[in-house]
């Protein structure tokens, strides 16, 4: 065995690719290009693709594009015959539209074949289900997220504040179990400049809460749908396959968000994901519910500066009645262009396995990188839990998590409800019911032209046959 082969072998073992050692540079000459964004799920990987080439011979290039416009580029790319990109970065709600058009390769058989190598049992099942369309696994998670609540632990544990809260509301201050409590907390902590907060005089206004209300990129729906879910809401009617967002849970969720407006920063209608998380990161709000991809910034001083870094607390999403209900998952994933050549597909799969492997994920975690993890063993690791306290929430809530919307008309839903909800929050629509009914009417107009069995098929969450 030559020295080079020894290196290749140890590299392959280190990355968890068994079998690669037997073939010398299995994918020599293959060039892969990936259509992606500059998200942490990609930026951590991009600088080290050389290691993959070293091991397999396949050259990988990752092209990063802005998030606004990326899905447009993917769909156009998928509509062309000879692909420019073999690998694609996929946000999980896109699997419906990409799956229905046959743009993505079915990974089910590969996953079954390599189950041991990829530690299939260790991956949280819902994260795989998140990328499934009609029984086919169309993408593999590179970052698994849930929607949860972040809060200022230092404030929640301050004796003065705790006493004042108890006196005012009659129960103990703690992370909210119900949305009513969530609103109480938001109200309680909303203070003006000059008021006292945890014993200090505030120099500027302090807000109880920050949620995304902007319609840019459908941001408001990304908070609204998890809240609707926590009330037990569904997107679709099982019988007709038509819009069910305007039912009671949806209305309640919209009303919760409307009620929270008073405790949000005054620019709430413009709050995008990152502006909203920014308030939390600077410690200028008491609590904020959002997707766990950004949560790492509350734990790692190199990612962000929180006045009380390490003092943030993490909790599951509140629910309507306080009993545990469904939380919402999402996955940022890698998929393979179905029009790539067979050899390219094999190489692309090898790349996905390498880039999302347990060892790679652990390496990212240890390096302090903000990838939202999806391996049970990593999330339950006591050392890592110490470092990233939110891992516990990530792990515990996913038992009863439900997947995000995966309907082929997802983009329509996001855009239309983005506008309708935004109008309601701005006070232009009289009631939540009216806003949601408007949205559903618009969606249903587009859906009704399709036969019933088709609509029912679109909403059926058929699991991929990965587990025996």
């Amino acid at each position: 065995m030559t020295f080079a082969r020894t290196i290749a072998l140890s590299g392959a073992l280190a990355a968890g690719i068994a079998g690669a050692a037997s073939a010398e540079k299995q994918f020599e000459g293959v060039e892969l290009k990936m259509l992606a964004i500059g998200d942490t799920s990609v930026t951590r990987l991009a600088p080290i693709v050389g290691e993959f080439e070293e091991m397999t011979g396949a050259k990988v290039q990752i092209d990063m594009f802005p998030y606004p416009g990326l899905i447009d580029k993917i769909v156009i790319e998928a509509s062309a015959n000879n692909p420019s990109y073999q690998l694609m970065w996929v946000d999980s709600p896109w699997v419906g539209v990409l799956g229905e058009s046959g743009a993505l390769e079915d990974l089910t058989d590969w996953v079954k074949r390599d189950a041991e190598e990829i530690h299939l049992d260790d991956i949280i099942p819902i994260q795989l289900q998140e990328n499934t369309w009609q029984g086919r696994l169309l993408a593999f998670p590179a970052s698994g997220m849930i929607w949860h609540v972040n809060y200022r632990k230092d404030l929640f544990e301050n004796p003065d504040e705790m006493a004042a809260f108890k006196e005012k509301y009659g129960y103990d201050l703690a992370p909210a179990q119900t949305w009513d409590q969530f609103i109480d907390i938001a109200e309680f902590f909303t203070r003006k400049a000059g008021d006292t907060l945890a014993g200090k005089t505030l120099e500027k206004d302090f807000y109880g809460n920050a949620q995304a209300y902007s319609r840019v990129a459908g941001a408001i729906t990304h908070d609204f749908f998890p809240i609707m879910r926590s009330f037990g809401g569904q997107y679709w009617d099982d019988e007709t396959g038509l819009c069910a967002i305007d039912r009671e849970p949806g209305v309640k969720a919209a009303e919760v968000m409307k009620e929270l407006v008073a405790y949000n920063p005054p620019d709430y209608l413009g709050l995008m994901w990152d502006i909203r998380t920014g308030y939390m990161e600077r410690g200028e709000v008491a609590q904020s519910g959002y997707w766990s991809v950004r949560t790492v910034r509350l734990t790692n001083p190199e990612e962000a500066v929180l006045p009380t870094i390490g003092e943030a607390g993490y909790a599951a999403s509140p629910t309507g009645d306080g009993n545990p209900a469904d939380t919402m998952t999402g996955a940022l994933s890698f998929g393979i262009n179905s029009k790539a050549s067979d050899r390219e597909k094999e190489a692309a799969w090898a790349f996905i396995k390498w880039g999302t492997s347990r060892d790679m994920m652990r390496r990212f975690a240890e390096a302090g990188s903000g990838v939202s993890q999806f391996h049970k063993s990593i999330l339950s690791d006591p050392d890592l839990q110490q470092k990233y306290p939110y891992y516990k929430v990530l792990l515990e809530t996913q038992d009863r998590a439900q997947r995000r919307i995966f309907h082929p008309f997802y983009a329509d839903v996001e855009e239309i409800f983005g506008v309708e909800l935004n109008k309601y929050m701005a006070g232009e629509t009289a009631s939540a019911q009216e806003a949601l009914t408007n949205g559903c009417t618009k969606i249903n107009t587009r859906l009704k032209v399709f036969p019933l069995d088709m609509r029912q098929r679109w909403i059926a969450d058929v699991p991929a046959a990965i587990f025996d």
Partner: protein
Amino acid sequence: MAYIRKRNRRIFLIFLLPAILVLFLTTIYPMIYAGYLSFRSYDLAKLFVPRVFVGWANYREILSSSEFLHSLVVTFKLMAMTLSVQLVLGVGIALLVVQKLPGMPLARTLLMIPMMISPVIVGLVWLFLYFPELGYLNYFLSLAGIDAIPWISSTNWALWAIAIADIWQWTPFVMMGTAAALQSLSPEPYEAAMIDGNSRWDVFTRVTLPQLKPVLVSLMFLRAIDAFKIYDIIFVLTKGGPGDSTEVLSMFIYRQSFTFWRMGVGAAASFVSLVIIVVLITLFFKSLNRDQTA
């Protein structure tokens, strides 16, 4: 006559034909393709949507859609806002910078910088300025004792926020054209007017403005074509929101063509908007010709 005709033909062949050929070759296919799409149901992403001929259905849908009409109204509102302010500000600033005082040429140069910046970046910078809590603009207002304005997050302000960014970028264009025209005006009418004892304002309205008119009309014409297509700044700042308060024509077409992938409807909307602007421009030229002959 025969000579001229022969010369004309040679000029046509050597000079004009290349441009016609190039434009024809590079635009004919996309235009025909878009025209073809506009009569079809064509969803680029959802292959299960039947791709069939639908006649004028796309056009009917657009012309009867309140959203399309709304976007048309917003577009014209925005055009009126930006063009009028650019005209007034541009002429005003031009009157300042043509004074024969030290430093004026430098000021003219510096003021041209905004229009050299990519509209996407203009959008990003103004986003930065507009952040209600943390933006610079509201900070400066607070120094002046003015309450924070929800620039891009209020349905009342958002269109103005877009307009201000566009005004910021393109007032220099009007200023530059006007300043140059002012400098090339002949001095005689002024001297006569001054001798007659007219006030400054009278001189400006009776002597300067009429002379400037052709330049201003031409500048406004160029601005109007671009304002009708305004897209990048809105794409970055509001994407049409909040609500639908900044949903201009380009955003409507973008939403149909990309977000919803209804390429047929998007193409039909593009042709309708082309017809609207061509009709407006034809009317504009007609009225211009009438003015000149009158």
